[in-house]
């Protein structure tokens, strides 16, 4: 072993010194990676984490405006806007990972209402009851949405940014071409199927009807498709009286059978489109506006993307008609809908909850809420805005989708819902891709449901 010339010129002690220095430097680098406790957070910077996609930038506009207003109103606390550019599923993943470490946890979170109970259970959120108690504008929020932000412990964690309903969008021009009435309202599932079949025969190049059925579309598949069907049957997912989940219901199989029917008969998009990860954006920004899809079940926010922005479609009001989703056989009240909505919530790791709430109050004030409701085409949850002329007249779809509130349902608000929803998505994709019959997929769902909540938390339909 001959030392290299350069090293041989260094005396042993210097060599040891060199080695020691490198070791120290490495140790320093290691400890820098793990981060001194909470050094990256301080009480004078608030991190606001929210979702942003090509089709959804309205929230960013409102938060940017609120940031300017809030920073102008005082000089100590700065707002750091941190968008997560991802579709819904990946947004939840990224958010959960950020929440996992005190160093990265947000102070203020754009939080889907159905995630609140889960995240409260994980200790990611901080209750805000003490702050709303002295917030005058809290009284403007409708009582029905005040509960949306509550955790299992009945404390308030999130404030609603607006709610939504779901119904059928249809293309009036394509209906006219197929000899269908311009004013259309199905009263049973069969009505929808008959109309879709008529469209298929008359317009073979057009996809008659879209209902999401892919795992990739995540919660949208559960809510915009499966639950819009299931809540129109005599069955439900969760018995709110006994607080138990329902297994083996006929409604569950019927909902899957309906999805299977539209996909098997070619009334729905081909699987290459249906299972595409971008299906949601494609329907909203491409297939529906271009007249390639005649009907689809989707959310009331859809026109928000057509009013302005990258995917503006100024003529949408001439083409698009709306219909309520009928119950399976026309059972009373005749129609059904699902409502969700997002909230602003406070992260449990925040060092300055008062400032965090102050910023939330600015983002949710009358001006900003009006801007958000109208630009994002949401149903107002503040009573002072719901009656404003400016709100009511800004978008022709508001009246229709607000009228669905009387038929609407909410998802079971339990910490397990998001995982159970995942099992629903598996069932839907399995059925439409031919991997399982509705009975088999329902049985698989029952099995994974029991696996998630346990034997004592389920009941047979």
């Amino acid at each position: 072993m001959t030392p290299t010339p350069v090293l041989s010129q260094i005396t042993p002690s210097r060599r040891a010194l060199l080695g020691g220095a490198i070791t120290l430097a490495a140790a320093g680098a290691l400890s820098a990676c793990s981060g001194p406790d909470g050094s990256s957070r301080n009480e004078n910077t608030l991190r606001v984490v929210y979702q942003k996609t090509a089709a959804f930038q309205q929230l960013e506009h409102v938060l940017t405006k609120a940031k300017e207003e809030y920073e102008a109103s005082q000089s100590t606390v700065a707002i750091e806007l941190v968008p997560i550019e991802a579709e819904q599923d990946s947004y939840f993943t990224k958010l959960a990972l950020m929440n996992g470490s005190p160093d990265t946890a947000p102070d203020i979170i754009y939080e889907d209402a159905f995630q609140i109970r889960t995240d409260v259970a994980a200790g990611y959120l901080r209750p805000i009851d003490e702050y709303v108690a002295t917030w005058e504008e809290w009284n403007m929020f409708l009582d029905s949405v005040k509960d949306v932000g509550k955790g299992d412990d009945d404390k308030l964690y999130g404030i609603s940014l607006g709610t939504d309903t779901r119904g059928i969008f249809y293309n009036k021009k394509l209906f006219a071409q197929a000899g269908l009435p311009e004013q259309w309202q199905p009263t049973t599932w069969d009505d929808i199927l008959q109309t879709a079949r008529t469209l298929k025969t008359a317009l073979p190049d057009v996809i008659p009807f879209n209902m999401y059925a892919s795992k990739a579309f995540g919660e949208g598949t559960s809510m915009q498709s499966f639950e819009m069907l299931l809540y129109g049957t005599q069955d439900t997912l969760y018995d709110t009286d006994t607080k138990k989940w329902v297994t083996g219901s006929q409604g569950f199989k019927d909902a899957l059978t309906f999805l299977k029917t539209i996909y098997d008969e070619g009334l729905a998009p081909g699987l290459d489109i249906a299972l595409d990860t971008n299906i949601g954006s494609r329907i909203a920004t491409e297939l529906l506006p271009q007249g390639k899809v005649a009907m689809c079940v989707d959310g009331s926010w859809l026109p928000g993307g057509w009013i302005n922005g990258d995917n503006a479609w100024p003529q949408w009001e001439e083409s698009i008609g709306y219909a309520a989703m009928p119950t399976q056989n026309g059972k009373k009240p005749g129609f059904t809908s699902m409502s969700g909505g997002w909230t602003l919530a406070m992260g449990s790791q925040t060092k300055n909850p008062q400032a965090a709430f102050d910023f939330m109050a600015v983002a949710l004030n009358k001006d900003n809420a009006l801007k958000y409701y109208t630009e994002n085409s949401l149903i107002a949850v503040r009573s002072d805005i719901a009656e404003m002329e400016e709100y009511l007249t800004c978008n022709s779809s508001f009246e229709f989708f607000s009228s669905l509130v009387q038929y609407t349902h909410f998802r079971p608000a339990t910490p397990d819902y998001s995982r159970i929803s995942g099992s629903i998505q598996i069932a839907c994709e399995d059925v439409v891709s031919g991997g399982a019959s509705p009975e088999e997929a329902a049985a698989t769902y029952d099995k994974s449901l029991v696996g998630i909540v346990g034997d004592d938390m389920v009941q047979a339909a």
Binding site: P12, G19, L97, R419
Partner: protein
């Protein structure tokens, strides 16, 4: 067995050995940071994944903060889940089709052909093949997605010659991702084999030629045995690389339709991050690790007689 001289003279030998050990230690000291780094960033996460697989940790909800130690429950439910066995079969098909057969055979073929073509042709071909390999995985994945998509390049070309292509990603998900991985990974094998073939002394081949061996005979009887060690190493490397492929499949098919292209890494991701079961996902990742280890063991066994 005779004793070594050093043992016969303990005092002197011991002192020199101590000096020797001391010097060796000092010499190896600069390695310490690297070893620490490896422990922290390689062994650490692996150990943590092993541990995580024994808990019911989730991404959110009660078990995110207070996961329970549940022993082998994750493995029990994993081994009783038919989806898992489907996934293992798909993983093996993916390994066999795209790495062991696809990349290796095609890489060898291209390497051999390139040695027999004019330099200009071989460098042009080489550049094209290496291009796929140089691309970041995510870019390659989107390129393949665009190629195999129903309205993508492949079907447009087929359409031009009057053929009606299927929806590749839906009808043949595994074939699509296998072809994509062959396209992406062949360059690596090609370069390895090219280098190995170039090292074969030309005299050996010449003498074989003089003895009357044809091109095929000289390839199978002379070239292949000589580069056997490269083949074994290359097999191991491509297998391990392919076992880690995630982005390609996730972008192209998302593991679907249903679970028809969910190889183990995709299944692990889905369970851990989509269905929030970190513990269960870790168990799947651990099984993937074991499969990789088994393959490595087999290859090193194959390799060993050549080394000795």
């Amino acid at each position: 067995m005779h004793q070594s001289p050093a043992c016969g003279v303990p005092t002197a030998g011991g002192a020199s050995r101590r000096r020797h050990t001391g010097r060796a230690l000092r010499r190896e000291l600069p390695l310490l940071p690297a070893v620490l780094m490896l422990l922290a960033f390689m062994a650490g996460p692996i150990a943590y994944a092993f541990y995580g697989a024994f808990t019911n940790r989730t991404m959110s909800g009660y078990k995110a903060v207070n996961p329970d130690f549940i022993g082998v429950d994750n493995y029990v439910s994993l081994f009783s889940d038919p989806d898992f066995y489907t996934s293992v079969l798909l993983t093996l098909a993916f390994l066999l089709g795209s790495a062991i057969i696809g990349q290796n055979v095609l890489g060898m073929l291209v390497a051999v052909l390139m040695r027999h073509t004019p330099r200009s042709v071989s460098s042009a071909v080489g550049a094209c093949i290496v291009g796929a390999w140089v691309m970041p995985e995510i870019v390659a994945a989107f390129a393949c997605y665009a190629f195999f998509h129903t309205e993508g390049t492949l079907n447009t070309v087929l359409d031009a010659i009057g053929l009606d292509g299927p929806a590749w990603l839906v009808t043949f998900p595994m074939l699509s991702v296998i072809l994509a991985n062959i396209w992406r990974g062949t360059a690596f094998s090609m370069m390895n084999y090219n280098a190995a073939l170039a090292e074969i002394p030309p005299e050996i081949k010449e003498s074989a030629q003089i003895d009357g061996a044809g091109a095929l005979q000289s390839f199978f009887r002379i070239s292949l045995p000589i580069i056997r060690r490269t083949i074994a190493t290359n097999l191991m490397l491509t297998t391990l690389q392919t076992l880690g492929v995630f982005t390609l499949i996730f972008v192209m098919t998302g593991g679907g339709p249903g679970t028809r292209s969910s190889i183990l890494p995709v299944l692990a991701y889905q369970e851990a991050f989509k269905f929030s079961q970190i513990g269960y996902g870790s168990a799947i990742a651990t099984v993937t690790l074991v499969i990789g280890a088994v393959f490595s063991l087999v290859y090193t066994r194959v390799l060993r007689p050549e080394v000795e």
